[in-house]
């Protein structure tokens, strides 16, 4: 049977190559939530402290809560990482690939755009590369990960899939004064 994946962002956008900011819809990437109680081997295997993140074998492992991790990346890489996870003890895995919209906002002035829609302190000291938190962006609760690309500030913003189109447009609006190129 003919099966097609639909992104939460269904409107179309024409990218402008010279813009100071880029916003990319990465909703098709795999996203898996792992919850693991203290003392479980899964926790040791993930080896990532809360509020930080790191890349490992093509998977971004983000400590989203004290007992929760998000595994992000290409579906095969994420699936392989999940398969490796020891499941002893109170450990649970939920595939959130379809549950979350995922956007990447990049550019030297990305924090200036985020400051217009989010009350968190985005300064380098408070949100260094790798930092993970969650907060309200344009009134939608999002997971927020700083994940710089080649030294350029870059942020992953994940929200409930149903808010995806709304949030994507709110971010474009916020980036308008700096120049923003969106692609979905």
């Amino acid at each position: 049977m003919n099966v097609t994946f639909t992104s939460p962002v269904t409107a179309s956008y024409s990218p402008s190559p010279d813009a100071a900011l880029t916003l990319v819809d990465e909703s098709a990437h795999a996203k898996v939530i792992v919850r693991a109680k203290a003392g479980t081997p899964a926790r040791a295997s993930l080896a990532q402290v809360f509020a930080g993140s790191r890349e490992s074998a093509g998977v971004l492992i983000a400590g989203t809560r004290p007992d929760e991790w998000m595994l992000l990346g290409e579906p095969t890489a994420v699936a392989a990482r999940v398969a490796d996870l020891p499941m002893d003890g109170h450990v649970s895995v939920v595939d959130w690939t379809h549950g979350r919209a995922q956007f990447r906002l990049s550019g030297a002035v990305a924090t200036s755009a985020l400051e217009k829609v989010c009350g968190l302190d985005w300064s380098n000291d408070m949100m260094p590369n790798g930092a993970v938190t969650s907060g309200s962006v344009a009134k939608v609760t999002c997971d927020l990960i700083r994940n710089d690309v080649d030294g350029t500030p870059s942020y992953l913003i994940l929200c409930d899939r149903s808010f995806g189109q709304y949030l994507f447009d709110a971010l474009i609006d916020s980036g308008q004064e700096f120049g923003i190129s969106a692609s979905a």
Binding site: R65, P66, G135
Partner: protein
């Protein structure tokens, strides 16, 4: 906008959290009298003093935790927070003294 010290997220804007009010113990549901249960449901102390309250870090780490907040000055203790304080010039005794908030001083007004 108060800064609330979430044990996981650090200081967060009050709007990121939900205040559930004083942390009240739940009576035994199998032996509680109507009076006891009614007190648990509806009666709350409102002291001009320290009060243990439950917060929910709604937009942050989604953790419930309790904090002591002074009901008259809005200061937090355990953990102490860098916040408003009047008096001698150190923050280290931040948990003592007034927050500099006086009744009405922060209310919106037409004038």
């Amino acid at each position: 906008m108060l800064l609330v010290p979430c044990p996981n997220c650090g200081p967060r804007n009050q709007s990121d959290l939900r205040l559930l009010g004083a942390a009240v113990p739940r009576p035994n549901p199998n032996t509680a009298t109507r009076a006891e249960w009614g007190e648990y449901l509806y009666l709350r102390e409102n002291p001009a003093d320290w009060l243990q309250e439950t917060w929910y870090c709604r937009a942050g780490c989604r953790t419930y935790f309790t904090l002591e907040r002074h009901q008259a000055t809005n200061e937090f203790r355990n953990p102490p927070m860098p916040g408003d304080k009047v008096g001698n010039s150190t923050y280290t005794t931040i948990t003592v003294g007034s927050s500099g908030k006086q009744a009405g001083a922060n209310e919106g007004d037409r004038t």
